[in-house]
Every structure is written in C-alpha cells, then in structure tokens.
C-alpha cells in the first residue's frame, strides 16, 4: 500500500482492481439508497456504501479517517438511523409515486446536467500528477492529523466541540417530552375502558376446546367459531395465526346437528357453517389492519356473552 502513496500519475493495479470492484459496489449501494422502497433497505445500502468509502479512505492513505468512517458513520450514525426507523415504523414502505408535477423530469434534467458538468469540470481540471502522502504521513497519519488539528485548526476544533455539545443538548430538548398531565390511576384507566366500550373482562386463553393448546391456535367459542382474541397480538400482527382444521369443525357441526335433531330444534347448523366461513375471512383480512379485526372480535365476543 505504501507504494501507492509515493508521487505518481497512476496507482498500482491492485488498487485499480479494488477501485473498480468496490467503486461499482459503492455506486450500486448509492442507487439502492435512493431507490429502495423500504427505508430499512435504503439504510443498509447506505451502510454498504459507507464501508466501501472507508476502504477507499484507507487506500488513499487516510487511515485515521478510514477508521473514523467505520466507527462514526457505519457504527453510530447508521445505528441512529435504524433506531429512528424503528420509531417511525420499520414495515412502513413509502410509495415512490411522485406527487409534485414535473418534479421527476426536473430532477433528472438537473441531476444529469449537474453530474455531467461536474465530471467535465474535474476532467478538464487536468490533475494527473499526484504528490502522494509519502512525507505527509511520514510521522504517522494520526500524529500528522493530530498535529495540525491541535495547532492551526485548534480553534475550529474547539468550535466543533461546542457544536457537538449543542447538538447533543438540542437532540435532548427536541425529543424529550415533558409530561403535562398527571399519570392516570388504575381506577381511571378502568373507567376510561368502560367509557370507550373496550373488551372489559380478561381475554380468554388460547386453545380452549382445541386439540392441542398451542399459542398460535385461536380458542373456539361455544358455537365453534375461533376467537382471534385468544391469540397473541404479535402473532396476529405477523399473520401467523394457525386455524383449527376443517374436519374438526365438520365434526363439531355434525355433533351439533345430531344434538339438534335429538332435542328436536334446528337452525344452529347454519350458524356453525357461517362461523366456519367466518374464520376464513377473519384470518385472511386480519393480517393487514389490526385495529379493525380486534374491534370486530371485541363486539362479537360481547354478544356471545350476552347470549350465554
């Protein structure tokens, strides 16, 4: 590597190879950052690009910066990004559909123009001889940086420090939310639930009337319909609710029918069948939006209890 740092108009083939490969990766990463639908993916692409850049720093003899790049950016900054993404919602995928008229075309135009001009500018700058960092890094890159940093740039350095402190404080001030109202007591919370007509009693356990009591199988209501309430919310989120098998339902229906004939009354069967159908679409359309499903189940259960 040291060879490359001597004055030269061109670099070692090794670096060339490395450049062409990693450069491609970097560009792809950049494009990914811009074009990915889900921001998580964008973040990851960006991270990739940054790592590549770190390597390039090292290749350019900026060892300290290379490390800092990895530590600060890929380490700290990107994590920060990811945390925020979690806050905002990982699953949220924003549409790339443009809303401002003509924005895309303008961007394309400006982007192309800008890029081409910039590259043309660099090209025409006529920089072919590289001094290289040989003697600059002679006393060690870090020491060199430290020297100039604490001698001629010390003032800027101090100011930057102040900036960082300010930034930290600012972040706290901005994100910290002062509790304006008193914390609610148990009683008030209960009353609130009643007022909102939420599901009052504790939720039923899963696996009731079930062949086995796995957590991902909803318990069945007296009429045999499965109650989503009994399944863990997270599983419901993920849409991983396993449904009771068909034949079980069928047997249940048959049993119902027989008891019905025996008792000389009918009509429940239809209910049972409808219930079976219910399970289907309940499960299917529970996945996307959770609130609706929960609410629906909530009042269904309630009229069950009323029937009991």
């Amino acid at each position: 590597m040291t060879t490359t740092l001597l004055a030269a108009a061109s670099t070692s083939t090794g670096e060339a190879v490395q450049f062409w490969i990693l450069g491609t990766v970097a560009v792809l990463g950049a494009l990914g950052t811009v074009l990915m639908k889900r921001s998580v993916h964008s973040a990851l692409c960006l991270a990739g690009t940054m790592i590549v850049l770190a390597v390039f720093y090292l290749a350019n003899g900026a060892y300290f910066l290379g490390i800092v790049q990895i530590v600060v950016y890929t380490g700290a900054v990107m994590m920060l990004f990811l945390f925020v993404l979690m806050l905002v919602g990982v699953t949220a995928a924003d549409s790339l559909k443009e809303t401002i008229k003509g924005q895309r075309w303008l961007v394309a135009l400006c982007g192309l123009g800008f890029g081409i001009l910039l590259i043309a500018g660099i090209g025409s700058a006529g920089v072919d001889t590289f001094v290289g960092l040989g003697e600059a890094n002679a006393g060690g890159n870090v020491q060199g940086l430290a020297r100039s940093l604490f001698t001629e740039y010390v003032f800027a350095f101090e100011i930057t420090g102040a900036l960082l402190v300010t930034a930290a404080v600012a972040a706290m001030v901005l994100t910290h939310r002062e509790r304006t109202e008193r914390r609610l007591t148990q009683r008030e919370l209960a009353e609130q639930r009643v007022r909102e007509g939420k599901h009052l009693p504790p939720l039923p356990a899963p696996g009731v009337y079930a062949r086995h009591n796995a957590v991902d199988i909803p318990g069945l209501l007296p009429d045999g319909t499965p109650s989503e309430l009994t399944v863990n919310a997270t599983l419901r989120e993920r849409g991983q609710v396993r449904d009771v098998s068909r034949e079980a339902l069928a047997d249940l229906a048959a049993l119902e029918r027989r008891t019905g004939e025996y008792l000389g009354r009918n009509g429940t069967d239809t209910r049972a069948v409808r219930g079976a159908a219910d399970v289907r679409d309940d499960v299917s359309d529970d996945a996307p939006d959770t609130d609706e499903g929960r609410a629906g189940d909530g009042d269904r259960d309630r009229d069950r209890e009323a029937a009991k």
Partner: protein
C-alpha cells in the same frame, strides 16, 4: 489507473445523493441521501489531500464527519418530533409555507 477516478466516483455519488434528496419524500431517506452527498464530498477531500500531499484535506473531511454527526443527531431529533406531532415523516406534509 489515475487516482482522479476517485473524484469522478465522488461526483457520481454526490449527484446520486442529490437526486435522492429531491426524489424521496420520506424525511429519513432524504437524510440518508444527504449523508451520501457528504460522504462523496469527504471522498473528494481525501483524494485531494493525497493529490497535494498534505493532510489539510483530511482535516476538513474530519470536520465534515463531526459536523455531519451533529447534524444527523439534530436532524433526526427534528424528524422524530415532527413524526410525533403529525404521524408522518414525509417532507411534503411539512408544508406550512405552502399557499
């Protein structure tokens, strides 16, 4: 190869980043694109320092990083606050300037 290619790469990344800023509505992605631009600039600086054989370029790059870190901190904090207040991280929704 001529190290000037690093500059071309930097230019490319910068342009992509800029377009990203202009194209994406999600504030966080916009932010990432800005970071991308900053990094491109850093790459250029580092290359320059190599070109001229003194460390000032790296110093500047260093400062850039620090400042970028600070900026990210504040920026994300702002995004979070906005998200809290209006349940959206879209820059278009923050349109109080709109007529």
């Amino acid at each position: 190869m001529n190290p000037v290619n690093y500059l071309f790469l930097a230019a490319l990344l910068f342009t992509i980043g800029a377009s990203g800023v202009l194209l994406r509505r999600n504030a966080i992605v916009v932010f990432m694109s800005i970071e991308l631009m900053l990094n491109a600039a850093n790459l250029a600086l580092v290359t320059f320092s190599r070109m001229h054989g003194n460390l000032d370029g790296q110093i500047i790059a260093f400062f850039t990083m620090v400042v970028a870190a600070a900026e990210v901190v504040v920026g994300l904090a702002i995004i979070v606050t906005i998200f809290r207040s209006r349940h959206s991280a879209s820059v278009d929704d923050a349109g109080l300037m709109k007529l």
